[in-house]
Amino acid sequence: MFEMSSNMLYIAFGLYLLSTICFAVSITGKKFKNKTGEERNKSALFGYVTAVGAVGFSIAYMALRWIAVGHAPVSNMFEYTAALGIAMALAFVILYPIYKNNYLGLFTMPVVMLIIAYASMFPTEAQPLIPALQSEWLYIHVITTVIGQGILAIGFAAGLLYLVRMVDFTKKDKKVKGVEFIMFTLVATVAYVGIVGGFQAAGYEAEFQYINEFEEEATIAYNLPPLVGPNEGELISEQGFDPPILMPEFIVSEDVNTILWSVLGGMVLYLLLRIVLRRPVGGALQPLVRNVNPQTVDEISYRAIAIGFPIFTLGGLIFAMIWAQIAWTRFWGWDPKEVWALITFLFYAAYLHLRLSRGWQGERSAWLCVIGFALIMFNLIFVNLVIAGLHSYA
Amino acid sequence: MDKKQKRFWMRSSILLVMLAAIGYTFYSHFSEDRGLVDAGDEAPDFVLTDLDGEEVELSDYQGQGVYLNFWATYCTFCRQKMDDLKDHYEDFEERGVHVLNVNVDESTLQVERHKERYELPYDLMIDRDMLVSDAYGVGVLPTTLSINADGEVVNRSVGGKTEEQLVGELESIVPET
């Protein structure tokens, strides 16, 4: 059962890829209309159908895993992050019939794939639940939150689409740099997945003996070649080499090493792209999205946020408070994760007020959508992995 | 009343209500920890047994002052205070002020040995399960409540105090004759 659920996710991943390709074809491919003016290029329809199929397989993955492990598969970093990708795809599948916007598919599906691929870099095996998580509120709270965030993420995709469509890439101003930074982040994530996934598959491990922050001897295993080593580190495994730089004891050198690899890999990929394209990456995408109606995309992003915000609030704050009251005796305790959920809430609340009352539409609104998504990812990754708190289960 | 005046009063009263609510919240949050029982409150009645097994009830001392002192063997300021009390308690006893030293639920042996070790001449009581301490909202030791002849708390003092302060507190609850 467990293995089957993993296979479902693989199939879904393949379908997401197929869907991306279909949407790309529907945009770049020739328009052939028959005599009655009916569109005969069916690839958009194929794209949507495969997306629906992919979501179906994704839900099958979740259901099977739920049955296999006995609890909702949203209890650790892999499960949650994968669920976020799936929720985003689900939101797309629901929103597409309203606007029939193929460009949105072209921008959403790759982000979905990237999120799921990123998720699979975390340990994917089944984990037992600690007592604090043993509650039906686990899935009520987390699944509602993840659906809300998935819909908000559509706001990001539409916002990004808007920016790529509207920013003038012939200039070299802050806007271009901003869009390029988003592109770089996406590329660096691809690099991270590629590098970590590659070395994982190859079974790479370099082990060091080092002095930790308590001034004790300890060992640490790297799954990537060591660009930086731990404090007073000495290689003790066969694989690996002596790193050129050693980190001081208060820094987790392995994390620095991973980040370094991702940034460097991202830089190499990005530079390659620039060389091949001979212009900013966003600028290279712009001709593809020439036919996009900015008003429509702006409205899609706004609607995504207007729909996602109440769901996120319900799951991420209201249900969260109810569960916290039951499990931790108080509905609010200023735990970092709680605070960042509040910050996300406040941010989108500010977005809505700016949009409704101060007329921040179009480009400014698109930037806010991007920042909002950055906040969601920050809360997911940084707060969980770096700022320790009650939510650090992964 | 014209429109403008009406609006002024309307706005002023809404602002005032909000300001009062916020002001009170700030006051109760930032003012020093208020005990459950504080100056001005009536002292809740209680029954305790002393080391000889005799029951002592607060209401027995109606018409007299009661100096209610919560303490523990491991509390340094309590030791200081109880040492100072040695010199004064008899004097005040004659003037109608009773000192009740209430230990916060330590073992009988410890309290007995403490009494011997520091040669404490007065009675000691043990508050089993800390019922009395909880009723009086005792958190930090020593906490002392000065109760006057009418059974009203006139002062709640927390932490170490000098001998002068101690005597002052005792003086404040000497019943008028």
Partner: protein, 548 residues
């Protein structure tokens, strides 16, 4: 500050952009599309600012100020997560040193700025208070005029109003215009629009109640904040901890000695091999065993009503409950939560006595209850052992005197005085020795040695006692907030105006959001009629020319 009289005869308050009744723009603006925010009515705050009260009021009424408060709250909240708050630093650590020690200069600065208690600092609370005031005033200021405007709107709007709508179209009417008009009206009604007619003009409206969504959710938020404020009022909120040893009974603080809790057994379960193959990989990855359950089997007792505080009386058994994480014990308004535990706390020591030759003295065997030791232990063979001093948690204080840190037997030391048969306990002084864990010192000439023969431990459960009378208010506020949020987000206010003026069709549409649906609605109701297709005037505004 005079009222403005529109040409339709309606009297508008000063500051109105669009006539409340007919919609004619009262101020010249060169924009193509009218600003429909709050229907163009005069926000009360903008109108006058004569006294201080008005100035304060206007300050908080501004959405700009509101957004600034939100942003400030957002930024300052994030500051509090840089390092842990004081309540999350390891227990027993002293905040004055902890931050500097752990995080260096940045940590010291963090502490000095008071960020270790950021969320209860005066300025953070002031920000939340400002948010609350802004919510009240801004909502009041907008709700009333908006309500008036929507109530008073006329079916026939001024042509200038129509022309300034984002969706607008016009064309010549033809012979079939009456027929088309009826067709459209029927189609609108079918789409559940609320249709009004006046002099052959039409206003179709749908989803107006969604306009109240923001005000409903603001009211919810205000109630929620009031609930939060009430926590600071005496008696509303109780937060206590109680430690109960297995087999013992403790009073539940805050109940005035009415309730007692007994711990029959404390249980910790771990995921082990029985958990199945599935979790094996994850369990072996963890260095420590993974806990599957914390549980206290507890009973609740109640003191009969007539007893006074501290008085001894029999307790009545009320109820049993297995307290687990996620499954608290609820009694009246009080809840008991499983939050902590201590395994193997020392409970009793058993001792024997050894004479000079190292032989155990027969019959001299005794057990000391570390939570309630006895003073004397007398034996048939004439030996007497007295406990001279007992320190449950021994340490040497600043004056060099032995004392105890608290009453928990974590590091018990006992000073024994041994009186062999030849000594008289009341007159002579006996042999003194101090005994503790791995400690056995004689303090004077001793010929006997006390030997610890056994130590018994016990598990202790840590429960949080919580009573929160603010919860019903918080829940009400949260529920109202959610209702308002859904009401304002998932329904949309749409209006379509249709007029025949001087032989021309005028059609205009306005939606507060989701223009897409409005456009579709208009397209569908005008299908097969001679009515013009309205254009989105923003499309042409932003992109004057587009070559395809």
């Amino acid at each position: 500050m005079k009222d403005v009289i529109c040409e339709c005869g309606h009297k508008n308050p000063y500051g109105t952009y669009l006539c409340e009744s007919c919609g004619k723009p009262l101020k010249e603006e060169d924009k193509k599309v009218a600003n429909m925010r709050y229907e163009g009515v005069a926000r009360r705050s903008q109108t006058y600012s004569s006294s201080i009260v008005d100035k304060v009021w206007n300050f908080f009424s501004s959405v700009k100020v509101g957004i600034w408060i939100i942003v400030l709250l957002l930024v300052s909240s994030s500051l509090g997560t840089i390092f842990p708050q004081e309540m999350y630093i390891p227990p027993g650590e002293n905040a004055t040193e902890y931050y500097a020690q752990e995080y260096g200069i940045a940590g010291q600065l963090y502490y000095d700025l008071g960020f270790h208690n950021l969320y209860s600092s005066w300025w953070y609370m002031l920000l939340i208070a400002a948010l609350g005031i802004s919510l009240v005033i801004a909502s009041l200021d907008r709700f009333v005029p908006l309500y008036r405007a929507l109530k008073k709107q006329r079916t026939t709007r001024h042509a200038a109003f129509m022309r300034k709508q984002r969706l607008y179209g016009e064309s010549d009417t033809d012979d079939s215009s009456d027929e088309d008009f009826d067709k459209v009206r029927a189609a609108l009604k079918k789409k559940r629009y609320n249709v009004r007619e006046e002099n052959g003009n039409l206003l179709a409206e749908k989803g107006r109640f969604s306009r109240w969504g923001p005000y409903v959710n603001h009211v919810g938020l205000i109630i929620f904040l009031i609930g939060g404020m009430l926590r600071f009022f005496p008696g509303m909120y109780l937060d206590e901890q109680v430690w109960v040893r297995e087999g013992e009974r403790e009073v539940i603080a805050g109940t005035g000695g009415e309730y007692f809790i007994e711990n029959h057994e404390f249980i910790v379960d771990f995921y082990d091999d029985d958990a199945g193959e599935l979790f094996q990989e994850a369990i072996t990855r963890e260095e420590a065993p993974v806990v599957s359950n914390f549980q206290t089997n507890a009973s609740l007792y109640r003191q009969p009503d007539d007893a006074s505080i501290g008085g001894e009386s029999d307790l009545e058994h009320v109820e049993d409950h297995e307290i687990r994480v996620n499954d608290p014990f609820q009694i009246d308004s009080i809840s008991l939560f499983q939050v902590d535990f201590k395994l193997n706390e020392l409970n009793t020591f058993s001792f024997g006595l050894e004479d000079e030759e190292g032989e155990m003295v027969g019959d001299v065997e005794f057990t000391v209850d570390l939570n309630d030791p006895e003073g004397f232990y007398e034996f048939d063979n004439g030996y007497t052992i007295e406990i001279m001093e007992y320190f449950p948690n021994f340490y040497i204080d600043d004056n060099g005197e032995p004392t105890t840190l608290n009453r928990v037997p974590d590091n018990p030391r006992i000073i024994f005085e041994v009186f062999p048969p030849e000594l008289e306990p009341n007159e002579d002084s006996g042999e003194l020795s101090m005994v503790g864990i791995q400690v056995n010192e004689s303090l004077n000439d001793t010929s006997h040695t006390i030997r610890m023969t056994d130590a018994d431990t016990i598990d202790v459960t840590g429960l949080t006692i919580r009573r929160d009378h603010t919860l019903p208010i918080i829940i009400t506020g949260g529920a109202i907030f959610m209702v308002g949020l859904v009401q304002g987000s998932y329904w949309h206010h749409r209006r379509i105006w249709l007029q025949r003026k001087d032989g021309r069709w005028l059609i205009a549409g306005h939606a507060n959001k989701n223009w897409h649906a409005l456009k579709k609605d208009i397209a569908s109701v005008t299908e097969g009629t001679s009515l013009p297709e309205p254009v989105d005037q923003l499309d042409s505004e932003e992109e004057p020319q587009k070559d395809e």
